[in-house]
């Protein structure tokens, strides 16, 4: 029991429950099942990166903490799809935003998809349980840095409103390096909360650098999880129950490789695309110190039974120099980055399922996604809101995310924003969802249809986008899914 590296593991095991993935879904499931007395084996493809290894150097941490070193993109290269690949998964590299499934989304799932197995109360209770476990708390106003405050002030100047996030940082010192892992253990990721809980029971074994590739089936049951260790050796875990929690891009790949789940596996992908907007001020902003994502504009977003989560939101953001520069659509000796004087935000559009994940011959994912016109229009409106916020708070100019765009110095220039084209702006997705969704691939208790002992518990289960930030919704789903086994 404990955390084993691939090189130190025999490569075979027999267990009550095998969990593929150690992020918001797998980590939560591991803790709850181990605490209930089940023997659990958790398989994590990435490494266990403790705080001593968090160097705050982006060129070192992206390869260590992110899926494909941050290299994962849609097939046409238009959208960077960021996911963690380490013990704790994306909870190690995210912005620590805690946003439960809104009531309107629950209403939508019930009315449009007939999801009635879990009551609203059960979802809310699961959310509270997860929030307590990860130390969730509201960011106080005095911890908002200038970057975050400019967005709130700019919202008020337009008659819009927003607030500060609930986050899962505790005793944060504000170094600002959340996206490349917290070197101070202030961000209470799954690797620092649920995984240790699982290990403390003595019932759990976590194997890192173990990539699951295939599930063996016999009748209505999965019998074995098979894969390969980082040193090239194959492994096999025999389990009574299997939980697939490899995320919305890779869970469908494993089902596809195993011939499980039916033809709709991989469909219904939502990416929740985000576009960056930055602005230059005459004096220092220093966006990169303090809490890097603390505030948002959300009066432009709604959730109801008809639409689910819809509209758009704008959130302040900061990142390390290389990533900040790469995210802006400007280049050349005439356009140096004024890192200290920049404010930045991300425009987030909750989309509807429309993409898909296919498995290429080499086993890698082909993420196929087209930004539909309505989401493009909302993205443009979000960009206008962000740019207006900055211009009304004294920015000398705003840099829009369009290739070749000239700096915006006056609001009248925002009236002429053209239609969006693929590859014409640097979009990011940090919240892929829906590729094994309930109703299509899964029963309402998250079991794969036709199988008695295989559940999926990650962001791929959601019928439509669950929230503007998926960590807590995944935890909620995991808690509800595991309750079926207890």
């Amino acid at each position: 029991m404990g955390i084993a590296k691939a090189a130190d593991w025999a490569g075979t095991a027999r267990t009550d429950v095998c969990i593929i993935g150690s992020g918001a879904g797998g980590g939560v499931a591991a803790a709850l099942l181990a605490e209930a007395g089940r023997d659990v084996v958790v398989l994590e493809e990435g490494e266990h990166v403790s705080r001593e290894r968090m160097t705050q150097r982006e060129e070192q941490m992206y390869p260590l903490l992110y899926r494909d070193g941050g290299n994962q993109n849609t097939a046409d290269g238009a959208i960077s799809v960021l996911q963690g690949r380490c013990l704790g998964g994306s909870t190690v590299v995210n912005m620590a935003d805690v946003v439960p499934v809104p009531q309107g989304v629950l209403d939508h799932w019930r009315e449009a998809f007939g999801l009635t197995r879990y009551s609203d109360e059960a979802w809310h209770k699961a959310g509270q349980q997860a929030m307590e476990a990860i130390g969730a708390n509201r960011i106080p106003a005095d911890r908002v840095n200038r970057n975050g405050q400019l967005l709130l002030d700019g919202a008020a100047a337009q008659g819009l409103s927003g607030g500060t996030f609930i986050h899962n940082r505790v005793d944060c010192i504000g170094s600002g390096y959340c996206m490349v892992g917290c070197a101070y253990d202030a961000k209470k990721s799954v690797a620092l909360t649920f995984i240790p809980r699982a290990l403390r029971t003595g019932q759990a074994t976590v194997v890192t650098q173990a990539r699951a590739t295939r599930l063996d089936r016999s009748g209505r049951k999965v019998t074995h999880v098979r894969g390969v260790l980082s040193d090239g050796r194959p492994f096999s875990v025999e389990a009574d129950h299997v939980i697939l929690a490899a995320g919305a891009i890779h869970s469908p790949l494993i089902l596809r490789a195993s011939g499980l789940g039916g033809r709709r596996v991989g469909q219904h992908l939502s990416l929740q695309p985000q576009a960056p907007v930055s602005a230059l001020y005459a004096d220092d902003v220093i966006m990169y110190r303090g809490i890097p994502q603390a505030t948002y504009i959300d009066s432009t977003e709604w959730a109801n039974a008809e639409d689910g989560l819809a509209g758009f939101r704008v959130e302040n953001v900061a990142s390390t120099p290389g990533m900040a520069a790469a995210s802006a659509a400007v280049w050349g000796p005439q356009n140096p980055m004024h890192y200290r004087r920049i404010a930045a935000s991300l425009c987030l559009v909750p989309d509807r399922p429309g993409g898909r994940v296919k498995r290429k011959r080499n086993g890698r994912p082909a993420i196929q996604y087209t930004l539909q016109r309505l989401w493009g229009e909302r993205m443009l409106e979000a960009i206008r809101v962000a740019a207006t916020a900055y211009l009304r708070t004294g920015a000398t100019h705003v840099t829009l995310p369009f290739a070749g765009a000239q700096p915006v110095t006056d609001e009248s220039q925002l009236d002429r924003l053209g239609p969006l084209r693929p590859n014409s702006l640097p979009l990011i997705s940090a919240h892929p969802q829906g590729t094994c969704r309930v109703g299509a691939v899964l029963e309402q208790d998250f079991h794969v249809k036709g199988l008695d002992n295989l559940q999926v518990l990650d962001a791929s289960v959601f019928p439509t986008t669950a929230s503007s930030h998926t960590m807590l919704p995944v935890m909620q789903a995991a808690i509800l899914g595991v309750s079926e086994l207890l």
Partner: protein, 147 residues
């Protein structure tokens, strides 16, 4: 040209390039890209980077670093450079700096998606490589990591 094969996207090559800034210069012929793509990369960096004087050093670093990288991803970068080099009547690396800039500006807003894709990806490589390099930090007022 196989569009899917051509660059898995912007960040794909970014991280490939990232470590490059900190790799020792080879001082020899191109160790990975081959002389022609390496020449294209240097010519690209010269017009894309905020400091043209850093172009050859960082391009050398990228080239050396690619040897240790995922072959699929590294091949993507080479393919993009080849496409850029031969994507006009005059080879990219033989254009004047002004000519290179004009070609890149035309490609980044081209109606041809692959051209936009190439410029997006190479821009990210260039900008990430430059600003992840500690040598660039003083000029932008970044104090560097706390640990």
């Amino acid at each position: 040209m196989n569009r899917r094969r051509l660059l898995t996207g912007g960040l794909a090559t970014i991280v490939v390039a990232v470590g490059a800034a900190h790799s020792p210069m080879s001082g020899l012929d191109s160790p990975f890209l081959g002389d022609s793509p390496r020449r294209t990369l240097g010519a690209l960096f010269e017009v894309m980077l905020p400091d043209p004087a850093a172009a050859e050093r960082l391009a050398d670093g990228v080239d050396a670093f690619l040897i240790t990288e995922d072959p699929l991803l590294s091949a993507d970068l080479r393919m993009a450079l080849v496409a850029l080099e031969h994507g006009g009547l005059v080879r990219f690396s033989r254009l004047s700096p002004q000519g290179r800039t004009r070609r890149l500006r035309a490609w980044e807003t081209s109606p041809v998606g692959v051209k936009r894709q190439i410029v997006q990806a190479l821009r990210k490589v260039a900008m990430f490589t430059f600003y992840a390099d500690p040598a660039s930090w003083e000029a932008i007022g970044y104090e560097g990591p706390w640990v």
